[in-house]
């Protein structure tokens, strides 16, 4: 793979054939394959976007990246260190380098802590010198655009946008290298969403951050990302630089996802591809290619053999037997 030949120091995070199976023998014998053989790299300083519909495993993947859950197979390495091999103490120091912002700013803050306590909690966990807490907290709050007057407020006195700013400030408290944003703007109103997206771009420049940005919203992902991975049903089906992906998407699911984006203007006429059927049942995946039961281009081979990731030009990888041979509508032109 082209991306794998990068100099090692350029790669911040590498996921190699990562799998996460959930089994509950009381319910079912077979495992639920939430993430099934996903490989990608995130380079230092870039924003890697991950899109997919609900249940495709993107949130599970984000939790695996932070080792909030253990992988069932494969490996994830951060700055060359295999996360699964780290002891508790080493993990603690690595986790300083990677932080997360969750989707719902209402659920991810302790309601009984003041704004300042929320921001200083990570400093306490990682035993920062106590004298430095307050100035650092003030700086962080200023960085994310929260006024000083709010420092002694409780979360319920903040608006949704302010809470999300607070979550970002907390995540930045440890000066991480990697910030995982799991649907970080999805719960916000559009006018607030724009404010937070701008803030994230500013912070990225100021703090030299690398983002793993997970969202179901393609427009948002395209706006903020440098490279994009498309997930479907536990697998990565296509990875490419964002311009390349939008100019030349090769997987039919990517095409369908683009087609499904609402039109930006009532006059925009688009050639569209609307998928039939539902996201498949996680317990009964289709044979062969996981997309075969909804794919409009399906052929006999697709139902028998699962396609492997193949490279199509620099950094563009696709898991489809017939990638490049299909006539996928450029459904995103004129889309919102």
């Amino acid at each position: 793979m082209a991306t794998m030949t990068q100099a090692p120091e350029a790669v911040l995070l590498r996921a190699d054939n990562v799998r996460k199976y959930y089994t509950d023998p009381r319910v079912r014998r077979q495992a639920l394959k939430a993430v099934d053989g996903v490989s990608f790299v995130i380079r230092r300083g870039e924003t890697f976007g991950l899109v997919g519909e609900s249940g495709c495993g993107k949130s599970t993947l984000s939790r695996l990246v932070l080792r909030l859950e253990e992988v069932s197979g494969g490996s994830i390495s951060f700055e060359g260190k295999d996360l699964a091999a780290l002891g508790r103490r080493e993990m603690l120091s690595v986790r300083r380098q990677m932080q997360i912002v969750f989707q719902d700013p209402y659920d991810s803050i302790n309601p009984r802590m003041t704004v300042r306590q929320v921001v200083t909690e990570p400093m306490a966990v990682h035993r920062f010198d106590k004298a430095g807490w307050r100035p650092l907290a003030d700086k962080l709050l200023a960085d994310v655009g929260l006024s000083k007057d709010l420092a002694d407020r409780l979360p319920h006195q903040l608006s949704g946008g302010q809470r999300q700013r607070l979550c970002i400030a907390r995540a930045l408290a440890l000066s991480p290298k990697l910030l995982v944003c799991d649907e970080a703007v999805s719960a916000l109103d559009v006018s607030i969403q724009a404010q937070i997206l701008n803030l994230m771009l500013d912070l990225k420049e100021e703090h030299g951050l690398t983002y793993l940005f997970i969202s179901h919203n393609l427009s948002v992902v395209k706006y903020i990302s440098d490279r994009i991975g498309v997930m479907y049903f536990g697998k990565l089906v296509e990875v490419a630089g964002k311009e390349e992906l939008f100019a030349n998407c090769l997987h039919p699911y990517t095409g369908a996802l683009f087609s499904a984006i609402p039109t930006a203007h009532p006059d925009a006429h688009r050639e569209r591809m609307i998928l039939k059927g539902d996201v498949p049942n996680l317990y009964e995946p289709p044979m062969g290619c996981i997309f075969s039961d909804r794919c409009p281009f399906v052929r006999a081979k697709c139902r028998d053999v699962a396609p492997e990731m193949r490279s199509f030009g620099e950094g563009h990888e696709v898991a489809c037997h017939f990638a490049g041979e299909l006539d996928i509508p450029r459904g995103w032109e004129g889309a919102l």
Binding site: S159, D189, F246, A260, T263, D278, A335, L336
Partner: protein, 327 residues
Amino acid sequence: MAEDARILEINGLTVRFPTSEGVVRAVDGVSLSLDRGETLGVVGESGCGKSVMLNSIMRLLEAPPARIGGEILYNGQDILKMPKRELFRIRGKEITMIFQEPMTSLNPVIKIGPQIAETMLLHELITKDEASAKALELLRQVEIPNAEECLGKYPHQLSGGMRQRVMIAMALACKPQILLADEPTTALDVTIQAQILALLRKLKDEYHMSMMIVTHDLGVIAEVSERVVVFYGGNVVEEAPTRALFDTPLHPYTEGLLGCIPHLSTKTGRLRVIEGNVPNPIDLPEGCVFAPRCPRRERLCVEERPALKEVGDAQGGKRHRVACHMA
């Protein structure tokens, strides 16, 4: 425009909720109308009063505590003053509604078939067998695969998209005049959203209904509606044919809203933003509701609430109205 072309007309609707912290002015003097056969989009951010307005059309708000003023005329009759008997005849039959979260709006312990049949048994003189035969036909119309099998399933056995189709089937059961949809696709994935929007467009034509879709998503508006009403802080700030709204938004809020959505064609750089937060409905500004966030604010805006006024040419009899002193 002839008066009878209007199927629904809302005049000066106000909805207030007294709370321990003060009176929440959820809807603060809204007037709008829905024409026969038209799809009207209502767009706004959370807390702007769009859902409360929709619920008051169906008289789903408990009053008291809610204090509702103004009038909602359906075929000339005021829904708000209608006796209960009359209301029950119309609600669920002539005016129906679909909600955002199909799981919480379906009864989890009743099978799909009987659940759809219930509406028809309530409003029409038909037998149970006829009702369940019609339920099957409805499920086919909303394009549910294996409709027979679906009749005997419980809501939890269906996916989100399928549940929303069932909701739509229920809403259509009595051939309604008006379909109210409250964020019908917000809880769904994009590929499923595209399916449901296509379905709603098709059914609206087949049933010759009028439709009012409430959403926060301008993309959904562009897809389905012919005319748009923009809500902000319990007020209508702009009303226009969809094309005109997208081409020449006149209210600074609408302009900001259109500007702050990342388009797929947006190049890197910063998004335009609307500074500040949505207004607190307990403490709405005296003047223009948008004034505290408005880049074009003048003294007049802070002092006096602007009324909706007509601007430009009417396109095909559809007015473009805006509530802004500066427009």
